[in-house]
Symmetry: C2
Subunit: 388 residues, 2 copies
Amino acid sequence: MGSAGTDVVVAGGGLIGLATAWRAAQRGLSVTVVDDAPGTGASQAAAGMLAPVTEAGYGEEPLLRLCTESLRRYPAFAAEVEAASGRSVGLRTAGTLLVGFDTDDVRALDALHAYQQELGLAAERLGSRDTRRREPALSPRVRGGLLVAGDHSVDGRALHAALLVAAEAAGVRLVRARAAGVRTAAGRVTGLELADGTALDAGQVVVALGAHSGRLPGVPELPVRPVKGQILRLGGAAGLLTGTVRALVRGRHLYLVPYGGDRLVVGATVEDRGFDATVTAGAVHELLRDAVDLLPPVTELELLETLARWRPGTPDNAPVLGPGGVPGLVLATGHHRNGVLLTPVTADAVAEFLVSGQLPAVAAPFTRDRFAPTTPATPPTTQEALCS
Amino acid sequence: MGSAGTDVVVAGGGLIGLATAWRAAQRGLSVTVVDDAPGTGASQAAAGMLAPVTEAGYGEEPLLRLCTESLRRYPAFAAEVEAASGRSVGLRTAGTLLVGFDTDDVRALDALHAYQQELGLAAERLGSRDTRRREPALSPRVRGGLLVAGDHSVDGRALHAALLVAAEAAGVRLVRARAAGVRTAAGRVTGLELADGTALDAGQVVVALGAHSGRLPGVPELPVRPVKGQILRLGGAAGLLTGTVRALVRGRHLYLVPYGGDRLVVGATVEDRGFDATVTAGAVHELLRDAVDLLPPVTELELLETLARWRPGTPDNAPVLGPGGVPGLVLATGHHRNGVLLTPVTADAVAEFLVSGQLPAVAAPFTRDRFAPTTPATPPTTQEALCS
């Protein structure tokens, strides 16, 4: 029924899928990536923050360890992708400034700072003068900041383009088609069915479909939901910021991430609205309002792009890695707001799992069985019928 | 030197150029329109308000007469274009509501109302309750309004598409090329040179290039300057407004024009910035902020499009029609904020001028000689050289 076999088929050619395929190919596996439009999902919208410290949420220590480990690997990962592809990935190591706009915002910053210190994370509290010394274009109304020298950024689109080249150079085959379902026989994976009804035979299938991961027929229940994010890209911002600025503006989160010489990503909404891709007037208005309040020269910048995409959210905001509930089915999804950051550690861990059947210790807390121990270990019968 | 001749070449295939060409062809002239991208200039951005009363400016009575006359002709003009093209032009005759957001805005509205009454224009002053009865989606903060039952709107893009069909059906030839200069010999026009160096021979050339009109080589000095306007288009607005809403929001002008079933044009900035086509974060922010304040459901609408184009501005905000300073050169430009509204009367007047050499009385005050009586009546010598 299927075409020539391959060791691994990766469904999804975003950052996670491509990097995983690349690492798996480097480990000696034959790998095919299936995506009808690689890099046009969440990878296209992501701001590219590599910011485990400023992103740290209360009670998410295992996730913080995973994020910190991935950040540690980033310089070598970026250098390797650049060497393999001959392309820049736009890694910026200027650090991140987290600022508070009004008094309440600064109070929240202080609470975060106390929590960071508890966890032993490096962050320097700045008064309003030093905050503006670091980023002179910020509004004089900004009350204070936290400088996190270790939180960086990468140009997610440049990284994706480079990974495409690196993966293909390592022998990864890219099939431009839509994944339509996981094929199984005798209770284990046999390949991936495409939208045209053909199939790619493979002993293992990696699901790296971002927010769509739980909707692929043949994937046992997976608590991954779309978390809508709306984001803007501005032009003409050369020299405006030293590094990433994250902010609390009257209680709302905002970030400004410089990239590509003269551009700025401004984000992002976090909305539970299902697969709604609408760019709304209200979201653009609020992002621009807060950005202008925080950084008044934004007024003069060019509005280049508005975009809405879906983060793959999970109940605990952490990814789902490794065994997928059916022998041969492997998960690399659920990265929520940390997809770009977690790309290196995910690719390494999932490639290890594909080769050895074991996840490295850092990734072990993130298997799907943490959610629902009673989830059936066999795929739904409808899918069995589809593959009979 | 040139290709087969034609009576008239119209440089510019926007609303003004196309309608003029159509009317001239109906009068028996052979007409060619030259435009490399018809309808992508100001015609693409225009909101389509047909609003001489709410647009009336102090001390612009002759312009008001021209606008009022053009509005009077609109229903028949629209019907004729629709019959000739088989396409709807989206004429809406629901009237226009002009509202004031705060106390100062309402005070300005009252001054405008007094001026309208002086001029004998029909407008009904509404209190805040009746204002919201007319448009229930408006913010409860809106303090009052003026209902101008006679001010309407048309879908400018639909009108352009219909005029293209109507003009071609009437025998107008469309040449997709860029106009590069007016050709003259012995002190009179002989045709239009195209960007590829070829020329179209014609005894008369109409300049309908909007804000670019004064930059066409061979056109004697013309005080037409670009007046930048930034504008948004929103989707999902079905049933939100009864008709056009214009507003003063804390001293700033805003309009919301429904069209096409579920869409809304929100405009517009008025900026003297030369030919700068940047859509700025600041302008989009202010338009959205004022629109959301005025009409809160805007928050949920889809931001479909942001656009910047240039109105052809003149020193007195009125168009420049008829004789162009060189025999055979004819002007149909300078319509500033009233291009869509003035399309019917301009087309009729300029077609009359092409046939008889005389402008109708209503258009007579708008010749170029009102600006600078000393402007030389011959084209610059550089252009003579180009045509020798």
